[in-house]
Symmetry: C2
Subunit: 79 residues, 2 copies
DNA sequence: AATAATGTGGGCTTATTAGCCCACTATTAA
DNA sequence: TTAATAGTGGGCTAATAAGCCCACATTATT
């Protein structure tokens, strides 16, 4: 239950990152240059394979030039 | 530089959690009962001492009955 | 006064990210 | 055809959260 929900959340978050990145025409490597996150890790984040921490969230927001809040701008059931 | 910024971010996030928790008249222990986070850890999160991961963010949102996005509803310079 | 609740901080083990690098494949551009 | 770029996945070490528990001081509550 909780496990599935967390996985859905990770996937939704990853898809949001992917959408933002593509909207700015950035490859993994290009986005990685703009923030302090390795390009191969960005791939894993977008696939929902990694449970990143707050500082990494901030880095992604900076690289994508949005407020951290915008990274969570996706539908998700409140239960 | 980046270190300071991350610390400011952690503090702002913690203050946001604190504000939401108090607005619902929840103690650390009561909030902990509503989500899967230890009460002593919530104290540390609100003080910005811990860099929590995505699943913990989800848990806090559930315990506070808000969308994860709302946990990031605070001012923060976009640089 | 006695009890309960609260905030705080320390410690512990295990699991996992952070922060790297490398190699491979497929696609695109020169 | 050749070179460059892109996505993917594996591996490594060190740092850190997760998930606990406990103890103490302070502040309500009864």
């Amino acid at each position: 239950m909780a496990v599935e929900e967390a996985e859905l959340f990770l996937k939704a978050f990853g898809e949001r990152i992917s959408k933002l990145r593509k909207s700015k025409n950035l490859s993994y490597r290009k986005l990685a240059q703009r923030c302090n996150v390795d390009y191969s890790d960005i791939s894993k984040i977008e696939k929902g394979l990694i449970k990143i921490q707050l500082p990494t969230i901030l880095e992604l927001a900076k690289g994508l030039d949005v407020h951290p809040r915008d990274l969570f701008d996706f539908d998700f059931p409140k239960n």
